[in-house]
């Protein structure tokens, strides 16, 4: 009996120590790879910042939807607040919706709601508490955008543009991708990368 107790104690200590010493990040290999451009994205339902479940199909745009993984505290994500809101406003009339996704375990729904109000983000924001959508899309950082057409086909994945600094934008990759798709043209650069804050996964 004593041996069994010691075994349980030792196992418990090892588990606790393992959890403490392990870093909070995940190796690149542990984050699922993003779907290939052209892949169909499954329908999903996530809670909004008030805790109400919202189905993607009830929010998506007729001509496409931009999903952007965003964060409350990430300065890179925050550098794009005005640009993201402007994007949502500019493309609403063109049948393209913008949806923010917050998959950071460190940002609770109330904080996300307050942050959106303070920063003037009027587009819907969903919480991804178990990182199900982030895992499905292979999202690893904020901001990270996905443009999906009206039939849920992934057309663009990556950065919003090339620079956090609005004065240094040289390549408006996300807007160019949307404009090409809306104009029936092939998207020249369907993937583009930039630096960002890693998503604090649950």
């Amino acid at each position: 009996m004593k041996t069994r107790n010691v075994s349980i104690l030792l196992a418990a200590i090892l588990v606790i120590v393992g959890a403490v010493v392990a870093g909070s990040g995940r190796s690149s290999s542990e984050i699922p790879a993003p779907p290939a451009i052209g892949a169909t994205i499954d329908e999903f339902t996530l809670p909004d910042v008030d805790g109400h479940d919202r189905a993607f199909k009830s929010l998506k745009g007729k001509n496409g939807t931009v999903l952007i993984f965003i964060a409350v505290q990430c300065p890179v994500s925050n550098a794009y607040n005005e640009r993201m809101e402007k994007l949502a406003e500019d493309y609403q009339a063109k049948g393209v919706a913008v949806i923010g996704i917050n998959a950071n375990a460190s940002d609770d729904a109330a904080t996300v709601k307050a942050h959106a109000a303070t920063k003037g983000l009027k587009f819907p924001i969903l919480k991804d508490p178990a990182n199900k959508l982030a895992d499905k899309l292979g999202a690893s950082k904020t901001p990270e955008a996905y443009f999906i057409d009206g039939n849920n086909k992934l057309l663009y994945h990556g950065r919003i543009d090339n620079s956090q600094n609005p004065d240094a934008i040289e390549s408006n990759d996300l807007r160019q991708a949307i404009d090409s798709a809306l104009g029936g043209k092939p998207i020249e650069k369907p993937e583009a990368k930039a630096f960002g804050c890693s998503i604090k996964r649950a």
Binding site: G23, S28, N162
Partner: protein, 181 residues
């Protein structure tokens, strides 16, 4: 029964002792006189120079940390990285840090933070208009999320990589394995 009980007890003591050793080392270090913070200079690096830095033939392994002052987990992990540099540089490890801050910060917040951390490894700041070629040059599978840590062998091959706050146990194991081989 008794033997297995004893074995488990010994295991428990060894485990606890292994955590006590770093604490002892820390207290010894703390007793030493504190040196004045070193003046840190940060060098701008472009994509081509970065490619050369990581791919050139080396006589020892190279650890590269991509970070930024605006990145909370980057700042949080920095003391661990400084400790790793101090522990392994004498055992043939090169370590460089590459900041993704704005170029305007190259003489201000970046060296100030490094100096505060007592970081003495060579420090660079990526000076590019488009970050994508640099990200892909480091690892085409990397999306650019920070912090990111890459360990290269002497041939310039990635032996270990991690995004998010570094896992020091894993990283130290990877370094030791590389140094021993």
């Amino acid at each position: 029964m008794r033997f297995s009980h004893n074995l488990l007890s010994v295991g428990l003591i060894v485990l606890l002792a292994s955590f006590a050793v770093p604490a002892q080392r820390k207290s010894r270090t703390a007793r030493r006189a504190k040196p004045a913070p070193a003046k840190v200079s940060v060098e701008a690096i472009n994509t081509d120079a970065l490619k050369v830095l990581i791919a050139k033939p080396k006589d020892k392994p190279l650890l590269v940390s991509f970070w930024a002052t605006w990145c909370d987990p980057c700042r949080d992990e920095f003391p661990d990285l400084v400790k790793i540099d101090k522990d392994y540089r004498p055992q043939s490890l090169d370590f460089v840090t590459i900041s993704l801050d704005e170029v305007a910060d190259i003489k201000t917040s970046v060296p100030a933070f490094l100096s505060q951390m007592k970081a003495t490894m060579p420090a660079y700041l990526l000076d590019v208009k488009d970050p994508e070629p640099a990200i892909n040059a480091v690892d085409p599978r990397w999306q650019g999320d920070l912090p990111a840590t890459f360990l290269y062998n002497a041939k310039g091959e990635i032996i270990y990589k991690h995004v998010g706050r570094v896992n020091t146990v894993e990283l130290r194991e990877a370094i030791e394995k590389l140094i021993k081989n």
